[in-house]
Symmetry: C2
């Protein structure tokens, strides 16, 4: 096992490798970056709206989200992040971050000083390119969420979210027997979907009644992937840029582009 697998920024190296041959210089530049690993408890905000970003983080383990709130207290969750994500790339080079980053579950996160990361990007164009790809990959997901917020019904929106979570967890090899973790409450789900907790509860009941899913003990069980996908016209291709390298994060054997067919068959 070489250094790439141990170092928290090893995944950046792997991302580079997915783009083409990597020079020793590039590899060294990344692995020489300081990376301090910290573990945060659940529901802990790592930074807040308005802060100046000084450290850029990589999620090694756990679930996190970015969120914003109105003065009335109404909260909107902007994005979900899992292992391999760089959730505060969005705030890099911003005078002040416009969102808060918080843990959902207990999470392990690696920090690198922004200026060091930026220096490395400035001297290694292909590293800069990889960061760019992370950034636009996240932006694609954000746009899909906007479409859901504006134009999908509550039921479709919930179904679509569950599909997305399932596919993203699947790429991390975290889905077993059509079961995956769903580590937040209906109130939290409401803050993702722009609804109330009561309405989320009712929409979830409909999905259960139709035999599509069950939810218990913070686990999502998808009984009928095909019908769930059909209900919300879920098309996973928007996740491809984001997942391109997630698939090689946890396993050495290549599993190619999203094999949804396989998932469909297994549900």
């Amino acid at each position: 096992m070489n250094m790439t697998d141990d170092h928290p920024l090893g995944l950046l190296v792997r991302k580079l490798e997915s783009m083409g041959p990597v020079t020793g210089d590039e590899r060294r530049a990344i692995l020489d970056l300081p990376a301090s690993v910290r573990v945060f408890p659940p529901r802990y905000d790592i930074f807040h709206e308005g802060d100046r970003l000084s450290q850029c983080c990589v999620v090694l383990n756990g679930w996190l989200w970015c969120h914003r709130s109105l003065s009335s207290g109404k909260r909107q969750i902007i994005s979900l992040h899992m292992a391999g994500d760089l959730p505060d790339l969005q705030g890099l080079e911003l005078p002040a971050i416009d969102y808060s980053l918080g843990t959902i579950t207990e999470s392990t996160v690696s920090f690198t000083p922004c200026e060091r990361l930026l220096e490395t990007a400035a001297t290694h164009p292909r590293i800069a390119k990889a960061l760019w790809q992370f950034l636009v990959g996240d932006a694609v997901v954000i746009r899909e969420w906007m479409l859901s917020l504006g134009r999908r019904s509550a039921l479709e929106h919930l179904a679509h979210l569950l599909c997305e979570i399932c596919v993203r967890q699947h790429s991390l090899k975290m889905v077993h027997d059509c079961r995956c973790e769903l580590p937040f409450s209906q109130q939290d789900t409401a803050d993702i979907l722009g609804l109330t907790n009561v309405h989320v509860n009712r929409m979830a009941r409909i999905l259960k009644q139709r035999g599509l899913i069950t939810l218990d003990d913070k686990m999502l069980f998808i009984h009928n992937w095909q019908n769930l996908v059909r209900l919300c016209e879920f098309d996973a291709s928007y996740l491809e840029p984001k997942l391109k390298f997630a698939s090689m994060l946890r396993c050495t054997q290549e599993n190619g582009p999203l094999h949804l067919d396989r998932q469909v068959q297994s549900c």
Copy 2:
């Protein structure tokens, strides 16, 4: 008048200048990029969802938007773009663009081949940095829109949109006597806000009845900026990264950070 003012990519040079001293090499690298200028009629889609981006564009004049649609035909507008914007940076390095870019009004747009822009960015870190800043500046606006879509009432959302448009037009020196262009229909507005045209009409009527605005002939007249801002708790600071350099796009004299006070007084 030097070359910077004529060349369509002059604004990229100005962006660099706003970040610090610019070397002759950097300036030359940008101004050497091919840039073909084209004029498009209103309501013309420059590229479509699913296309591979080959040319990267800069808006020189006019209004454009990015939009996505569901198979049902429901449309969501993702972003608005005006002079100085680089609306398809979001699609750069993506295997396929996930949104369509279309003109609202007749628009003048400059095109540069993506690979040339990327080459230049790869060899000039500060140019890459400027592109990064454009990208995250747009992402901040997107997040504000998400918050509106999920958590603001229809009335607040409409008011917030009008405030944003006014401030962005103001930074381009396109607001005169509290009047600015609003070159799209109520149906279009509905597709921005995630509402129906009928409901937009009713919300607009409320704003008019309260003496905050009038709308006629595709022009927005803001009568009471202060109350409009108060209604939706508009805080323009989220636009700062995006506008940082717009303010120097059209005028040589520095006008500093957003002087909203001045606007308030004049309304």
